[in-house]
């Protein structure tokens, strides 16, 4: 762990000299990121510790249904990136956008709309970020058999996340993400290979074939839809990945990012689900499914277990520092600047940078409480963030959409979805995001129809089309 930390810290340090002035430089590497690095940072940011711990545990209990859930998310992402990545990229260039909610501010002519989207993201993402720390705390505690208690696992992860992001912003995050993504994929391949060839004397596939309960659809349709629907829109509603649509150097790099992520995601997902299903055969009857991965690691040679543990830490850190970096940029650009529009950029950047250690500390403190509510809030995260979808879709495809429609849809959808999750309400058996998106969509359309659109809506769309022309369209 010390060696891994030192290598990544050295990489971060190395990028310090490349960082120029300004928000675009610090948070977007001045929009000069190449295809491979952008693909790896997108992958490492997307795939968190949830995959090798949470998803393995979920596969342990639910089998192939989890493959469907996670691959449906990936399919949704490929479609959404193909349709929206050029638009976000073009809008970012045309209007010098730094954050995802800033696009809503500019499109709808309403700083309040951007601020509302930012607040929604803050509420939903801080618990999700804390869960990365909690995952590492539990993993280190179990693997060391209590020699390193929960506190130290969370502390080391938090410090790593801070160090890798602080010195050079996205330049250091993207470069360390690229290394960490390679480690994530390599470690999961090694582990899956070891499990495949050593845990199954009769052969892995014939053994798994004898478990029809793991290979059939265990989830009722409302469960599948309730879990999958928010994740299918992840690429559009989670700001830490949307912000990466601004950073590609050019159209070719953007394409490489999408394709690279797609291949990475397919391989990584299949490996994680295989590990979970294998654990259900080899270690049956485990009460807490999240212990499936620690059990596997306890049964493989120590060097391999260590490499995998490092890869899980890499996944947690890469997601955590990306979220913290994005949230800090949003707080400054979309919330503070909404109230102080004349703030100069250097002051804004100093404010955002000052938030990075504070946000890291907030996530660390949150994680120590091990709130049961955190699990509810994490599940709620993607569901709550989904409520931005109507406003985002309308921004690009409905000229008549208005700021009032966007703002009210985000607020109404976010509040109702959050309340339904917290209260455990599922009317007609349908999960909160289903009702939330129906409400958010209805509010968006109806309020837009009775209010006046921004006079600059046409200019925004024309500017986006102009930037896209010749690169993504003829």
């Amino acid at each position: 762990m010390v060696a891994w930390f030192a290598v990544c810290a050295a990489l971060s340090w190395k990028t310090r000299n490349q960082v120029g002035d300004g928000m675009t430089e610090y948070f977007l590497a001045n929009r000069t990121v190449g295809g491979f690095v952008s693909a790896m940072t997108y992958s490492a940011t997307t795939y968190s510790a949830f995959m090798m711990v949470g998803l393995v545990g979920l596969s342990y209990t639910s089998g192939v249904a989890v493959l469907g859930f996670e691959l449906t998310y990936l399919i949704g992402t490929v479609f959404l990136l193909t349709l929206f990545a050029p638009r976000y990229w073009a809008a970012g260039r045309a209007f010098n956008l730094v954050t995802p909610p800033e696009l809503l501010t500019v499109r709808y002519g309403s700083p309040l709309t951007g601020a509302a989207a930012s607040v929604l993201c803050l509420v939903m993402l801080i618990p999700y970020a804390s869960v990365q720390l909690m995952g590492m705390g539990y993993l280190v505690e179990i693997l060391s058999k209590g020699a390193f208690p929960f506190f130290w696992g969370t502390a080391v992860t938090a410090v790593a996340a801070f160090v890798f992001s602080w010195w050079a912003g996205l330049r250091s995050v993207a470069l360390t993400d690229a290394l960490q993504a390679v480690v994530m994929l390599a470690a999961s391949l090694l582990l899956a290979g070891w499990v495949y060839f050593t845990f199954f004397p009769q052969g892995a596939l014939p053994t798994l074939a004898g478990r029809p309960d793991m290979l059939s659809m265990k989830w009722p349709l409302p469960v599948f839809v309730g879990l999958t629907l928010p994740w299918a829109f992840f690429a559009l509603t989670n700001p830490q990945v949307v912000q990466r649509l601004y950073v590609s150097r050019n159209a070719a790099s953007l394409r490489k990012m999408i394709m690279g992520f797609s291949v990475f995601g397919l391989i990584y997902t299949v490996l994680c689900v295989f590990l979970g299903m294998s654990a259900s055969v080899v270690f049956p009857g485990v009460e807490k499914a999240d212990n499936a991965m620690p059990l596997i690691l306890a049964a493989v040679p120590a060097p391999l277990a260590l490499v995998v543990a490092i890869s899980i830490m890499a996944a947690a850190v890469s997601t955590l520092n990306s979220i913290i970096l994005t949230i800090s940029s949003m707080f400054g650009r979309d919330i503070v600047r909404a109230f102080v529009p004349d703030m100069d950029e250097q002051r804004e950047l100093r404010f955002c940078k000052a938030l990075i250690p504070l946000l890291t500390l907030a996530c660390f403190v949150f994680a120590q409480f091990r709130f049961g509510l955190i699990a509810v809030l994490s599940s709620m995260a993607s569901g709550g963030l989904l409520m931005q979808a109507p406003a985002i879709l309308g921004a690009f495809f409905w000229k008549r959409a208005t700021a009032a429609g966007a703002l009210s849809s985000i607020v109404a959808g976010g509040c109702v979805t959050g309340w339904m999750y917290a209260a455990g309400i599922k009317p007609l058996g349908q999960w909160p995001p289903v009702w939330g998106i129906l409400l958010s969509g209805a509010v968006f359309v109806s309020v837009s129809l009775v209010t006046k659109p921004s006079p600059k809506a046409g200019d925004f769309l024309a500017a986006v089309q102009h930037e896209m022309k010749g690169r993504f369209t003829d």
């Binding site: 490349q18 479609f79 290979l215 659809m217 599948f224 394709m259 495809f397 993504f472």
Partner: protein
């Protein structure tokens, strides 16, 4: 929305329908083909990725771009 994007939208809707119809209809009882559902989702993902590859094949740079720095 361009003609190509309308095709993409149709592909999205068709994929969503298939993604529900197959696991909850056609392959609800996999029985004889134990890995059918797993193969279905992997194949569907590979197909969508391939579609994405060809859809984006003519994304190109405008002349005179800066050199890559990261």
């Amino acid at each position: 929305m361009s003609r190509r994007e309308r095709f993409l939208l149709a592909a999205i809707i068709a994929t969503a329908v298939v993604d529900i119809a197959v696991p909850y209809g056609l392959l609800k009882e996999s029985g004889r083909y134990p890995f059918a559902l797993a193969l279905f989702w992997i194949t569907l993902t590979a197909a969508v990725t391939t579609m994405g590859f060809f859809y984006t094949v003519d994304w190109k740079d405008k002349p005179g771009k800066e050199s890559e720095t990261l």
